[in-house]
Symmetry: C2
């Protein structure tokens, strides 16, 4: 295989990665919604520890656990970012519906 | 599905991600080896543009292209890091075998 062949393989892997990362984002949004309903905190250090342990346990290389963790730290950051956006948007909607409730009936 | 169910799903997606990311790293090492043989540069901005275009074209959401790019920038950084390590290690081996060649035969 030459460089072009390996790059085609990388492009195919990237398409699969995009799909899996978006599925993971969908799960994070579902969790964010459930957390919003129950007032659980967005940031849970214990959960992050479990995520990184799961990753290390399943690492067959060639990347080191440190390198994998560098990638997943960014991934988890972005997931926290979309949960934050979701929470802000839910709050804004609550305020709008709250304002409506206060409108005079006549 | 409750929070625990969604987290199990995330853990399963993470295991698949670890496998795909390591496959991608293996491809990067093969490219690094071929580049080392042909003296091509490790960093190629045009190739990165193609990677990010491929990602954006295949993004079905919920993540935005900017968010996906944040993740892939870190991924590409780590890939460049392992290619750099590989190059250093190849150079060190060349120096060792070069030193051996200069050893007296007797």
């Amino acid at each position: 295989m030459d460089i072009a062949d390996w790059r085609h393989k990388i492009d195919e892997l990237d398409r699969q990665l995009v799909s899996l990362i978006n599925q993971r984002a969908q799960c994070a949004l579902e969790i964010g919604r459930l957390k919003g309903d129950s007032d659980l905190p967005v940031y849970e250090p214990d959960r992050e520890r479990i995520i990184f342990e799961n990753i290390a346990r399943n690492n067959g290389g060639p990347l080191s656990n440190v390198q994998l963790r560098q990638i997943f730290e960014r991934l988890v950051d972005v997931m926290r970012q979309i949960q934050g956006e979701q929470m802000m948007s839910a709050k804004a909607q609550e305020e709008v519906s709250g304002a409506n409730e206060l409108e005079p009936l006549d």
